[in-house]
Amino acid sequence: MLLIYCPYCEEERSELEFRNGGDAHIARPTNIAEISDEEFEAYFFLRDNPKGVIFERWRHIHGCGRFFNAARDTVSDRFLTTYKAGEPKPDLDAEPKTSAEVETYEALEGAAQ
């Protein structure tokens, strides 16, 4: 079970209390009525789905109810950091590097070849 640090409760809580809220730091265009369909599609639907670090919104739905942002590694599922909504993206290079201790399908597949 993952433990996720909630910046509002100031404590690590079980993943059961949280819901994912999709990509973070997506700014709604201020001229939303004027943009083209393609621009709206890019803003509204298209996401990068990266393999590696992703910035996401999470909601502590069965706790304080607050939305916050988190940097998560999509390969190891490790949470690198969490921070309050509205705060800028943290500098992840300043954070301690994550170890590769989590066994992943990709890692095992590589060894089998």
Binding site: C9, R13, S14, L16, E17, H62, G63, C64
Partner: protein, 182 residues
């Protein structure tokens, strides 16, 4: 045809648990779900007669009235004497939102040396005394149901859940209480 509706408490008459963790449905109480900004906290605290806590996972009590921190701008206020909390909050004169949830919630008192174990059968939070001392409270999850926990004594918890989930919560808690006795 019956012409009178009779209000029935969701857990009326139920008893359960084990010698390690006794389960008792709590008496009816009045409750409000209170939302307010920081500016309104002093006025609301004065009007309600209990200081709204501002630290996560803390509560404040004054007699039989309890204010539980649920979020940075959200509290659950419980009055076990069935006082009119809506009127009390309304008399504060401060900007706030109060919703009467007296009949939405029901509560179960879990007491005994195995109370922590019984609740942890369905709840992932660390309830050890160091991290969840007397007076600590938290909204969390129990099985599939959302609950609000308040530790009223070292071996006693007040567990608030929505009335439609009450039979599920009581059933799962009974199983947990039996496990705690082994």
């Amino acid at each position: 045809m019956a012409d009178q509706a009779i209000r029935k408490a969701p857990l009326a008459g139920l008893r359960g648990g084990s010698h390690a963790a006794i389960l008792t449905p709590a008496a009816p109480a009045s409750r409000i779900s209170l939302r307010a900004g920081k500016d309104a906290v002093p006025a609301l605290s004065a009007a309600l007669g209990v200081t709204l806590p501002l630290r996560p996972k803390t509560s404040a009590s004054s007699g039989k009235r309890h204010a539980l921190w649920l979020g940075p701008d959200e509290w659950l206020v419980i009055d076990e004497d069935d006082a009119d909390l809506m009127a009390a909050a309304g008399s504060s004169g401060a900007l706030h939102s109060a919703v009467d949830v007296s009949h939405r919630n029901t509560a179960i008192i879990v007491s005994g040396p195995g109370a922590e174990v019984a609740i942890n059968s369905g709840c992932p939070q660390d309830l050890s005394l160091g991290l969840f001392p007397v007076g600590a409270c938290s909204r969390t999850i129990f099985g599939k149901a959302e609950i609000v926990l308040l530790r009223t004594a070292e071996d006693t918890f007040r567990l608030e859940c929505w009335r439609s989930f009450a039979p599920f919560v009581f059933g799962l808690l009974s199983e947990g209480a039996e496990d705690a006795a082994h």
